[in-house]
């Protein structure tokens, strides 16, 4: 792995960690929602499928080890896999991959479509995991309706907006890197 890729992947992974932590260390009034999805999509857009998903893997790995980098309680530790919402973190990995794969590094439209693809994958994996955990781990009776009302409807609008922001910012950045010839 060359030093440039390595350092860039690390930088994005660090940004993901910060995005996860910002809710806690900055006051919630400053950023009233999780900004993590923005950074996940951005990671995919900027680094491409391979290194993008690797950056998210690093983030999840650090969180599972116990470093307090996740956005919601208990913020880290292996126990996190038992939380219904862990699926979204797995989904993030896949999303970064899909976003990087679909984006052609040219147009805003392609960035938007790529992010949309990422969101679909994110929810597919997230909701499946949600259902499985609710059903088999917490042993609560679950229906699809419940899963969707708890894991999809409250978040989708926000995620679409965040996706839009990410697509715009990411595209700007790539455009600029292209024109400076680096």
């Amino acid at each position: 792995m060359n030093a440039q890729h390595l350092a860039k992947t690390a930088a994005m992974a660090a940004l993901l960690c910060l995005a996860g932590m910002i809710m806690r260390w900055a006051s919630p009034a400053l950023v009233p929602f999780s900004v993590l999805p923005i950074f996940v999509f951005l990671t995919g857009l900027i680094l491409g499928p391979k290194y993008g998903s690797l950056a998210v893997i690093v983030y999840v790995f650090l969180g599972l080890l116990g470093l307090p980098v996740f956005a919601s309680a208990p913020f880290g530790g292996i126990g996190y896999v038992l939380k219904p919402s862990f699926g979204y973190l797995l989904g993030d990995i896949a999303a970064a991959y899909v976003v990087g794969k679909l984006y052609n590094r040219q147009s805003l439209l392609s960035a938007l479509l790529a992010v949309l693809g990422g969101i679909i994958v994110l929810y597919l994996i997230g909701l499946t995991y949600f259902y499985l955990v609710m059903h088999f781990v917490l042993q609560q009776s679950t229906t699809m309706a419940l899963v969707i009302s708890m894991g999809f409807l409250p978040f989708i609008a926000g995620d679409l907006i965040k996706g839009g922001i990410a697509a715009w910012v990411g595209n700007q950045l790539i455009k600029r890197q292209r024109s400076s010839g680096l």
Partner: protein, 257 residues
């Protein structure tokens, strides 16, 4: 705001322990805290309180952690205490004692994990955290050289976190130096969003520069080795013993008694 450091500079025993031991304890204790039930939690809490008593960290450092823990705890207790039947009609339900207790336990866990991680980051520099983690990845190097790269990636990531925090703080300063932030809530968010692009740009550029600097100071990709900055001392061995006794104790209380 962003400059508020997690690290608490000092020379206490907790600072001086080997990072490998610290990472190990973090993983093991974190695992226990998220899996055991009442008895085990009690034991873990006791141990943690003793450790807190010995740590030189002022109570003030825990303020925000405890606040967040209590708020989340309340939230969980309420959510898990409210039981409703299948379907969309979550307002048709009742309060269940069992659920409340579960919620309470969840909150307790959260608070414990909070305290543990807070202490961990107060006494362990990010670079040390990286060293600790990289050490545990070392056995995998033999299986694939990718593991070495992954270990390096982890240490770099941890190195970047404070670095980027500084950059963010600087950007914020530069932004302030150019004019006031608008007072309104919406305006504030807009202003922060406008900083996102420069932040990313700077992060990527810092990454490029970091790569250059790493190469310039002798890093070679693929053949990464862990640079322990501390030597294993007797107090580290004692630490291992205490950790082992403590976690076995918690498990015994949980499953045997």
């Amino acid at each position: 705001m962003l400059e508020r450091g997690l690290y608490h500079p000092g020379e206490s025993t907790l600072h001086q322990l080997d990072p490998r031991l610290k990472i190990g304890s973090l993983v093991i204790l974190g695992l226990l805290m998220t899996t055991v039930n009442w008895g085990g939690l009690l034991c873990l809490t006791g141990g943690l309180l003793i450790m807190l008593g010995y740590s030189p960290l002022p109570i003030k450092a825990f303020q925000s952690v405890i606040k967040a823990g209590v708020v989340l705890g309340l939230f969980y207790t309420l959510i898990m205490g409210w039981h409703w039947e299948e379907g969309w009609f979550f307002w048709k339900g009742y309060w269940s004692m069992a659920g409340m207790l579960q919620g309470l336990m969840m909150s307790w866990r959260i608070l414990l994990v909070f305290l543990l991680t807070r202490m961990f980051s107060a006494f362990t520099l990010p670079s040390e955290q990286g060293i600790g983690i990289a050490f545990f990845l070392a056995p995998f190097y033999r299986i694939t050289p990718k593991a070495a790269d992954f270990a390096l990636l982890i240490t770099l990531t941890l190195r970047f976190i404070p670095l980027l925090l500084e950059e963010a703080a600087l950007l914020y300063k530069a932004r302030l130096a150019k004019g006031n932030l608008t007072g309104q809530w919406i305006g504030k968010i807009k202003d922060l969003a406008a900083l996102l692009l420069p932040l990313l740009r700077i992060a990527l550029r810092r990454a490029e520069e970091l790569a250059e600097n790493l190469v310039a100071r002798g890093y070679v990709s693929g053949s990464y080795r862990v640079l322990g900055t501390k030597e294993w001392e007797s107090k580290d061995s004692w630490g291992v013993v205490i950790l082992a006794l403590w976690s076995i104790g918690a498990l015994i209380i949980e499953f045997v008694l």
